[in-house]
Each structure stands twice: as structure tokens, then as C-alpha cells.
């Protein structure tokens, strides 16, 4: 018979120590699970071999396929010259306002993020087009980088986002006390989760545009170039056509015509035809590179998911989520205090942690706490993913910040300084999302 307290200590200490010792996060999850099972040696719960089996079971889910399919759709569209069309479309809507290019950047990032689901891809694609144009028109390079990287975060939350799919998969493995006694798994409708991301995404866009507009007016940044009327139909047609893969995914998932995985497969094939045969910008000799890039992105996530399956098994065996929930509730009985604490914790962890590890590791830990507070799992998912997205902007693992600074050829310090007004605006948006559940739940509630 094992002592649960010692088992928990082994799990927590090995996990934290190995994590800080630079071991890959997924490997850290597996090794701490093995160490704990080695100590427990419980014939009912299994021995250390169970960790390998649980890792395999973790990736044995059909819904997981949506992640590579969504990522590949974004990659194919990006390779097919999406960024220029999106920028033209955004310019049509907001280009003539004061500081027009700043607003075009934010709107284009939202459009592109809608299709790619990736903040880093958003920064690379839109930043490569917009930052040089902005600098040429008199915007400071630091400001151009600041507005790009902040706006790119919209990509993680605006549907169809593979980060939301990742959250739904991890959340589905979380076991919580059922209302009628016993235990049950948290089930999340991906269609509703997608819908839940729309209003927060728009809210984020509005806050970023307000900041961008204010700074642009104060600094006297110019308007964008006027678009000739004869160009308008072409820009609208190509822009809207670019959105059809996202419509395919959203429409079929929300209407229940197809699962996220099925919609993703259709969107991949459709995007390929769009890029290769309609726009003719997707070259066949680039296809292998696109597939390799998708594979290399996905393989990290899948190992994390598999490893979190094993880690989650050990945590559940030790009733760790219950204990963590009790610990949080012992701090305060006021839900707003605990939610504020959770947000601070997530923002702090967003610095050293990447997005996927944050979602995979923290969902099983924090979701039961928030459910206990009466929070809806969809609402929690939006809050978590938003926080994790903001973490991409903060060092030491601020990937979006680093990519943006590299594209804009500014130092990380300059980029960080320019990004701060936008980051503060994002905190305001985050607080609204956290404390006004309707922002996330109103739209899915209409279904």
C-alpha cells in the first residue's frame, strides 16, 4: 500500500524539477508519471508499463486529427498567397481612417488568424507584408512590430482555431464529480466552442484598434492609400473566396453536418484546389515542404497530448484535481478572487511556457476548480486560450514577440516597449472575458 501524499510529492517534485532542468515538457510529464507509478506499484492502478499504454491511448482519438488538418489548411492558404489578398481586403474596410495601416494590420491579422489559427503564422505572414509598408509610410518600425504581434494573438481565439480543438480534446479527458453523484467526463461541443471565440475575438480587435487609432492620431501617422473603385469587386471577390475554407469548417461543424475532423479534411482538400488551381500560387514543388512543416508542428503537440494522457491518469488516480480545487477554494470563497488569481497565474506561466504545454498541463488542473466555481467549461476554455495567447508575447518564451522583432528588424526590448500599450488593452479585454461570461457564452447559447 502506498502513501498518497508521498506519491503526490513525487509527481509534483519530479515534474517541476525536470521542467526547470530543460527536459522537453512532454518527456517531463512521462517521466514524472513513471516515477510515481514506480513508487505506487499498485496492482489495481497498474505498474510503470501503464504509462506507455496511457500515452498511446492519449493519441488514439479521432478528434485529434482536426489539429493537423486545420494547421495544414492554414499552411496551404498561406503558401497560396493568402496574406496579400487579406491585406487588400482589410485595407478596403479601414485603410482610409487615421492611422489606417495600423488598423489594416489589426484587421488583416484577425482575418488571417481566422484562417491559419496560428499567432506565429499570422505574425510571419501579415508582418512580412505590413511591417515594410508601414515603415515606408512613416510609421516607426517598433510601432509596426508592436501592432502586428499584438494583433496576431487574435489568431488563437478566432475560430476555427486548432488551439480550441486542443483544449476541447484535453478537457474531454478531465473527470469531475457529477451532479447526481459519481464521476463524469467533461464534454465540450466543438461547434459551440468555436462560436464562443467570435465575440472575444471581436472584442480584442476593437480594443487593439482603439489603442492603434489613439497612438496613430497622437503621432500623426498617415491614412492608407485610396482604393480605386474598379479594384473593389476584385478585392472583395478574392477576399471572400479566401474565407470559404473557414466557412466550410465553421458551417459544417456548427450545423452538425460534419465533425471538426471531417470538416478539416474537406477544408484541406478545398484549400489545395483553391491555391493550386484557382489562385495558381500554390506550387506543387512546395507541397512537400508544406507537409513537412505541418508534420513538424503537429508532432510536438501529439507527444504532449499522449504524455498528458498518462499524466492525467496518474493525477486522477491520486485525486489530485480534487485536492487542487480544495486548495484554491481555501484561499477565498469569492469566485472573482479565485478567477483573478488564476488569471495572474496564467499570465505569469505564459512567460516561460509555450501555448500547447499550457493548455495540455493546466486544463486538467484548473478546469475542475473553475467548474466548482460555476464557470462553464466553454467560458474557461476561452479564458485559458486567451491567456496562453498573451503568453506568446512575453519573454522568455515569447515566440510571437521574437518572430515579429526579427521581421521588423528591431530589438526585443524595443518591440516589447512598443507592444505594452496593446498588452494593457489585452488585459482589459481579458478581464471583460473573464468576468462577463456572456461575452463567450451568448453566441453558443443561441444554438
Amino acid at each position: 500500500m502506498y502513501d498518497p501524499n508521498i506519491a503526490i510529492a513525487i509527481l509534483a517534485v519530479t515534474f517541476v524539477v525536470l521542467l526547470f532542468l530543460r527536459l522537453p515538457v512532454a518527456l517531463t510529464l512521462v517521466i514524472s508519471s513513471i516515477a510515481t507509478m514506480f513508487y505506487m506499484q499498485d496492482p489495481f492502478m497498474g505498474y510503470i508499463d501503464i504509462v506507455a499504454q496511457q500515452t498511446l491511448q492519449g493519441v488514439n482519438a479521432f478528434s485529434l486529427l482536426a489539429i493537423p488538418f486545420f494547421i495544414l489548411t492554414g499552411q496551404l492558404l498561406g503558401e497560396g498567397g493568402l496574406a496579400n489578398r487579406i491585406v487588400s481586403l482589410a485595407n478596403l474596410f479601414v485603410g482610409r481612417l487615421p492611422g489606417g495601416l495600423s488598423l489594416v494590420n489589426s484587421v488583416a491579422c484577425m482575418f488571417f488568424g481566422n484562417l491559419s489559427g496560428s499567432a506565429v503564422a499570422d505574425t510571419s505572414a501579415i508582418g512580412s507584408v505590413m511591417i515594410p509598408i508601414m515603415v515606408k509610410k512613416g510609421y516607426s518600425p517598433e510601432y509596426a512590430v508592436g501592432v502586428t504581434i499584438s494583433s496576431a494573438i487574435q489568431g488563437v481565439i478566432v475560430p476555427p482555431s486548432h488551439n480550441l480543438v486542443l483544449y476541447s480534446i484535453v478537457a474531454a479527458g478531465v473527470v469531475v464529480p457529477a451532479a447526481g453523484g459519481g464521476m463524469e467526463r467533461v464534454g465540450i461541443d466543438v461547434g459551440k466552442l468555436f462560436l464562443a471565440g467570435i465575440v472575444p475575438g471581436v472584442l480584442l480587435l476593437i480594443t487593439l484598434c482603439i489603442v492603434g487609432l489613439t497612438i496613430s492620431i497622437r503621432r500623426g501617422y498617415p491614412k492608407g492609400d485610396a482604393v480605386a473603385w474598379k479594384q473593389v469587386p476584385g478585392i472583395l471577390f478574392h477576399g471572400i473566396l479566401s474565407f470559404t475554407p473557414a466557412f466550410v469548417i465553421l458551417g459544417s461543424v456548427i450545423s452538425g453536418l460534419a465533425t471538426a475532423t471531417e470538416a478539416g479534411a474537406v477544408a484541406v482538400v478545398y484549400s489545395f484546389f483553391l491555391g493550386a488551381f484557382v489562385y495558381r500560387e500554390l506550387k506543387f514543388n512546395r507541397l512537400w515542404a508544406v507537409l513537412v512543416r505541418t508534420f513538424r508542428t503537429v508532432l510536438m503537440v501529439f507527444f504532449l497530448i499522449g504524455a498528458s494522457g498518462a499524466f492525467g491518469y496518474v493525477m486522477t488516480t491520486l485525486h489530485l484535481p480534487d485536492l487542487i480545487t480544495q486548495a484554491f477554494l481555501s484561499v477565498s470563497h469569492e469566485p472573482w478572487v479565485i478567477l483573478l488569481l488564476i488569471n495572474v497565474l496564467l499570465l505569469l506561466l505564459g512567460g516561460p511556457m509555450d501555448m500547447a504545454p499550457m493548455i495540455v498541463i493546466l486544463t486538467p488542473v484548473l478546469l475542475p476548480v473553475c467548474l466548482q466555481l460555476g464557470m462553464h467549461p466553454i467560458h474557461f476554455g476561452i479564458m485559458l486560450v486567451f491567456n496562453a495567447g498573451m503568453g506568446l508575447l512575453t519573454p522568455p518564451v515569447g515566440t510571437v514577440l521574437f518572430v515579429g522583432c526579427a521581421i521588423g528588424k528591431v530589438s526585443v526590448l524595443e518591440g516589447t516597449k512598443a507592444m505594452w500599450p496593446f498588452f494593457l488593452a489585452m488585459i482589459v479585454a481579458l478581464l471583460i472575458i473573464t468576468f462577463v461570461p456572456a461575452v463567450s457564452l451568448w453566441l453558443p447559447g443561441l444554438l
Binding site: I48, A52, A121, V269, W288, F295, R296, F303
Partner: protein
């Protein structure tokens, strides 16, 4: 790896390319399999019962092959807080220690994966009737590959085949 000369170098380059092509081939197969299944179901009212089972089998292989390739390409994400406090030379030594840990993980996956695969020897998949072993055998295979890659890296070989900076790959989700 590509720069290594001689028979061993060529063998591992061939092995690398084969494994990677196989994993990416699985991705293409998965897309087409799911796409065809959707079209068949929606437009022809026909559903191939084996489609989802084959997809899951391919997904398992795709994911586990990815674990090994991730170690080869040093793609699995870790926290780099230590990098700010420890000199580069000490970090290089520490990286070799991590290689040893990865070797231990590879051996674990090989041994227990093989044991579990053999244990499942008599059971079969529900629809195709294939032996369950075809799904679980990917565990020891991944274990062996992970071990080989880590041993070679411990010996000082740079195994990465993609050295170009692709930031979007680092933390794209």
C-alpha cells in the same frame, strides 16, 4: 546526418528519409481517407466501416513516429529558463545528460512497449480483424528509434535534417 559519410551515415540517412516519408505519407492518407469517408457518407449514403479504425491506427503510428523524429530534430518543447543563468559550455554538457534521459525513455518504451504488444498478441481489432499488435508495435519501434537517435547525438552527431530557422514550428499552438 546528411553530412555523415560512409556506410553507417548513408544507412541512417536512408532510415531517416524512409521514416519521415512514411509518417508524412500517413498524414496524406489520413486526409484522403477522412475526406473520402465524408463524401461517401454525405453524398452516397455509404459508410466504409473500416475507415475510422484504419484512421485511428494510422494516427497512432503517425503520432509515435513523430515522437522519435521530434527527438531527432530536437523539436520537443522545453522550458529554457536555465539558459539565462548557466554558461553555454555547462549547458552543452547538460544537454548530453538530457540525451541520457531520453535514451532511458527510449529503452523504457522499447521494453514495456514490446511486452504489451506481445501481451495483446491474441486480440484483434474490432472491424478489420487485424491483430491488435499492429497498433501497439509502434511503441517499441519508436523506443528503438528514439534510443538510436539519442545515442548518436550523445556521440556528438548533429542529426537535424532541417537547419533553417522556422520559428513558426517552435510554438505554433
Amino acid at each position: 546526418m546528411a553530412k555523415k559519410k560512409g556506410r553507417i551515415g548513408r544507412f541512417f540517412l536512408f532510415l531517416d528519409k524512409t521514416i519521415e516519408a512514411y509518417a508524412i505519407g500517413l498524414l496524406v492518407f489520413l486526409i484522403l481517407n477522412v475526406f473520402v469517408a465524408v463524401i461517401m457518407r454525405r453524398f452516397f449514403g455509404h459508410m466504409a466501416p473500416w475507415s475510422e479504425e484504419i484512421s485511428l491506427l494510422s494516427l497512432t503510428w503517425f503520432s509515435f513516429m513523430g515522437i522519435a523524429i521530434g527527438f531527432r530534430e530536437e523539436l520537443h518543447l522545453g522550458m529554457d529558463l536555465l539558459d539565462h543563468f548557466i554558461p553555454a559550455k555547462a549547458l552543452a554538457v547538460w544537454d548530453r545528460v538530457i540525451d541520457v534521459v531520453v535514451i532511458a525513455f527510449g529503452l523504457y518504451l522499447t521494453y514495456y512497449g514490446a511486452e504489451f504488444t506481445l501481451k495483446m498478441g491474441t486480440s484483434t481489432l474490432a472491424i478489420t480483424g487485424w491483430p491488435n499488435m499492429v497498433q501497439y508495435i509502434v511503441m517499441p519501434i519508436t523506443g528503438v528509434l528514439t534510443t538510436i537517435y539519442s545515442v548518436l547525438r550523445l556521440l556528438g552527431m548533429d542529426l537535424r535534417r532541417y537547419n533553417q530557422v522556422e520559428e513558426e514550428i517552435k510554438a505554433d499552438v
